[in-house]
């Protein structure tokens, strides 16, 4: 595995799927605007033209269409890369409601394989079988990116934090090892609890992990405490991707990016925007304060 050099600025996907932490009305307006994949591609193309090559996205069903477009035009999108964030929990939630936990898992396993059989037996699963199921689920999420560049693969924050809270961090280790072994790329983790996660990952033997978390000047949604975040960043033990750098609009852009640029340990910023003006504005600020990757 080669250590991935992450770009300074990554493009996020919340705005495409009706996720807005400030207003349901805005969220709905965005859901309407991005109903068609063309509208998503238009925005991605603006970002790509600005030199923002990385799209950090949930493994939402609709990303399949984006992946198809990129795959269909390899010349144009030669430098385009995805950072998948998995799982997209909704599809599992629905399957669990429809089929129950075991039924849902069986539904996703290869029908003639040993795992499906193990789940049918109604007996306790061996550790190896649990690992096997996890790997099948990861592979399933990755299918839509077949043939595309995915140099970093993330676990979504609700899933990371659920496992972290329960103390089931071995599952994060399974993810880590599978991503390294099978895909030869960097495993990474999104969390709302960076200091706690970092400690837990280190206990699992994962050194200098890539962690994406809220990092902003006003400490918005930095659970575990602002100071603990800064300590972790300064310690050199984490490669951070900062999200919510504007704290949902509470911090003026220039001030927000300037502050981030002076933090050690922050390798990248992920942001979402729907207008060309906002995309160019953030790109210009990142170029001004952060320059090229170290």
């Amino acid at each position: 595995m080669t250590m991935a050099q992450m770009d300074r600025l990554l493009f996020g996907d919340n705005q495409f799927f009706g996720i807005n932490h400030m207003s349901e009305e805005k969220a709905r307006a965005q859901a309407m605007r991005f109903q068609k994949t063309d509208a998503i591609m238009e925005v991605l193309d603006v970002a790509y033209a600005e030199g923002i090559r990385t799209f950090m996205c949930t493994t939402h069903d609709r990303i399949t269409e984006v992946a198809d477009r990129v795959r269909a035009d390899p010349v144009r999108y030669a430098d385009f890369r995805f950072y998948p964030c998995m799982p997209y929990a909704h599809k599992y939630a629905n399957a669990v409601t429809d089929h129950g936990m075991v039924g849902a898992l069986r539904h996703f396993m290869p029908s003639d394989g040993v795992l499906s059989t193990a789940l049918t037996g109604g007996r306790a699963l061996a550790t190896k079988e649990v690992d096997g199921i996890a790997k099948v689920l990861i592979d399933m999420e990755m299918k839509m990116f077949h043939g595309l560049q995915t140099p970093v693969i993330f676990v979504q924050n609700v899933f990371t934090d659920l496992l972290l809270g329960m103390g089931f961090t071995r599952a994060l280790r399974i993810f880590h090892d599978h991503v390294v072994t099978k895909y030869g790329v960097e495993p990474a983790f999104i969390t709302m609890n960076m200091p706690m996660l970092l400690e837990a990952l280190e206990k699992e033997g994962i050194e200098r992990p890539i962690i994406c978390a809220n990092i902003n000047k006003i400490g918005f949604r930095m659970s575990g405490g602002f100071d603990a975040y800064l300590d972790a960043l300064r310690s050199g033990r984490v490669r951070a991707v900062a999200m919510s750098v504007y704290a949902s609009g509470a911090i003026p852009p220039d001030e927000a990016i300037h502050w981030i640029s002076e933090l050690p340990g922050v390798e990248s910023i992920v942001f979402g925007a729907s207008s060309a003006g906002n995309i160019r504005g953030t790109k210009a600020l990142v170029d001004k304060y952060m320059g090229a990757p170290a």
Binding site: H21, M101, V130, D161, M166, G167, A171, F220, R221
Partner: protein, 367 residues
Amino acid sequence: MDHKVRIGVVGLGKMGLSHFAMVNAHPQVETIACDGAGFMVDVLGRNLENTIYRDYDTMLDAERLDAVVIATPSRLHAPMTTAALERGLHVFCEKPFCLDWADSERLATLAADKARVAQVGYHYRYVGAFREMKRILDTGALGRITHVLAEAYGPVVLRPKRSTWRSQKSEGGGCLYDYAAHPVNLLNWFFGTPAQASGSVLTPIFSDGIDDQVTATLGWDEGPTAQLSVNWSDESHRKMTTRITMIGTNGRIFADRQECQVYLRAPDPALPGFEAGWTVKYTTELTEDPWFYLRGEEYSAQLADFSGAVAEGQGKAVENDFASAAQTDRTMAMMIENAETGQPVGAPPVTARPTPARKRGWFAWKA
């Protein structure tokens, strides 16, 4: 309390797993888990350090617990809460509290007699925007509230589904208990138990025998009329959306999970910082970071209040005590009876006449 608070989380389903993760992440809490059986318990038993029991009574016998968090199917809430309180434990129970509101009131009395921290998981009371709504309402700055719209929508039942406890009315399934309970609980917080429920209609859409949509009219003595409009078969919402709108004699207020919008006709000294016209506050600015964030500050905050009250020996819940949840159970029972009989339940609300205008206004002669 000098030792860690020892909490047993019972039921590792949809809510239980998330409660377990949040409680377990709390530095001052030691967590034990309990779930009937099945696949999850097998997997977790092999991978977590926590002790996991398969039987509730065995756990209560074997462990020296301070408190339990109950997240089992609703039918089990009353017996499990009773057993815990009888052993002197503090209880956090998922909503809806009890399917029979007489049980809810009995347990509220029992918890009060024993000075236990007894709380129910109505997390919307911990959402910044709804707390702001409550604060503004209580200042009286909106004048007399006459008109309320309480709504909840979301994509839970979008096609006929296999049967689980959530699809059985007798087990506490259905849109009323699962979804409508939230806006009803907020109305109880704002105005208490209504005097009358009328026009209640509980309608199945895709489900067999349980309600997927709920509409009702609730009225309070000296208070507003509220229209309740709830539907969990609405795919246009990404997840559950709850919103409350109120119109008063001095303005209007709206809140959902994200924001609280206020319109004041005239500023009021009781509400400094709000001018005439619109003021908008966002949950993001109204919320403090919890010790551990999983899926929204409100879920962590309610458990923080619970474990904090237990640790400090406060002897009662900070918010959402059993008595307040009993109001919600009672209100839902009124709606069910109203829907079944077609007769309004409770007496028509007594409403004071509006203060006569000093001068003869245009509306007076128009009427």
